[in-house]
Symmetry: C2
Subunit: 242 residues, 2 copies
């Protein structure tokens, strides 16, 4: 994070570097206050620059700066799920979630404020940006399942609802003083995905095919193996259902 | 739904009946148009009353009417998950989801617009109302699990993320021309809940205790039995994980 201390007002920065610096300053302020309580003066102070300079970069004022900050956050979040296409699915999801949750952890209250618009801009424009992140994340997950083209509507809905669940869990996690610890939350979200994938596979042949391939790549000493062994005792009393 | 045809302008209605009639008219308009594209004139016309009458009931204009409509929708949605506390959990969830999804089906685009604020009111106030619905639904689900007091944070988070997933699935369902048919969507959301409950039970002893009791009430010919039998072949190739 760029602060006044590390970047004197008139350090020479390229136009793009300066833009990034101002957006970073805004994002860091949003992390502790609602966007509607952050003024351009605050951003200028945090970035160690003059107010006119902030206006030169964002002549549309606070709304333009907010939209730029949201756009920047969206770009970063979209990259979270981009992960090399090899290895067990659970490991890829864990890496992606580690990046996503690190973003949530860093931006804190600003993450909720960004997602909810913070009352400074038209909801429809904000919603479109946020929805774009969700769709991009869902596409990445389908890519990890090797099913960008072959996924049917049921699997697409499943992945998109899981993305929503990740977002909801992140907001609850922030709301509850960042409990449980991040590695636990991440492991639970991976288990959540696998459980949902298997439940969906039971009624959707295309999901079943993708699930079979995904499970073949998992190993007994990985997250899927651990989940499988932990499920056995929970279901021990459910023999009457078979 | 009350329309101009069924309710002549000056039919005698009590203050409360008239208020409900105007809110119903607004909700029915929101079902096909964004709240920001609905004027008080439109509401007056749909309700078959004069514009001054609409203003007498909602002197705050469109924003007040919108908030009243959102409040009315919220009250109705909160009731969806109130269900007698007996019988298998999957049957209770299915009944609750049938009511919730019927609301989504009836209010259509208005459901998304209501959830997203439709750019007519401060996001923070709208968010609080919508969040109240989610919390109330989560409390009802915990009641069905017999765990309103004993639920730990993990189970609470699980139930709240499932509620978010139900909401996300409803919005996707509307977006995709109401596919799959409602009974299929409802059955999938019940499977989703059971899969998530079992996955969460594997790492949370309190959830495990609640899950054991819930599974004991399920029968082989119910939704949990059907899910259990469908899971077996999906996991047939996963013996290497155990």
């Amino acid at each position: 994070m760029t602060t006044a201390a590390s970047s004197p007002a008139y350090r020479r920065l390229s136009v793009e570097q300066r833009r990034v610096q101002l957006i970073d300053a805004a994002l860091s302020l949003f992390a502790h206050r609602s966007p509607k309580d952050v003024s351009l003066d605050d951003v200028a102070e945090a970035a160690g620059v003059s107010r006119p300079l902030v206006y030169r970069y964002f002549p549309g004022g606070k709304v333009q700066l907010y939209e730029a900050a949201l756009g920047s956050a969206a770009d970063e979040l979209k990259l979270c799920f981009a992960e090399p296409q090899h290895g067990p699915l659970t490991e890829r999801l864990a890496s992606a979630l580690d990046r996503y949750l690190a973003f949530v952890d860093t931006h804190d209250a600003g993450f909720s404020a960004l997602l909810q618009g913070g009352s400074v801009v038209e909801t429809s424009r904000t919603s479109a940006t946020v929805d774009g992140v969700r769709r991009a994340a869902a596409e990445q997950v389908l890519l990890h399942l090797g099913m960008t083209d072959s996924a049917g509507p049921r699997l697409r809905m499943m992945v998109r609802t899981w993305i929503s669940a990740v977002e909801a869990a992140s907001l609850i996690w922030l709301d509850e003083g960042k409990q449980p610890p991040l590695p636990e939350l991440r492991a639970w979200l991976v288990d959540h995905f696998m459980a949902l994938l298997i439940a969906t596979a039971t009624t959707d042949p295309r999901t079943a095919a993708g699930t079979r391939e995904a499970l073949a790549l998992e190993s007994a000493d990985g997250a899927a193996g651990a989940l499988a062994r932990r499920v056995v005792p929970v279901l021990a009393d459910a023999a009457h259902l078979l």
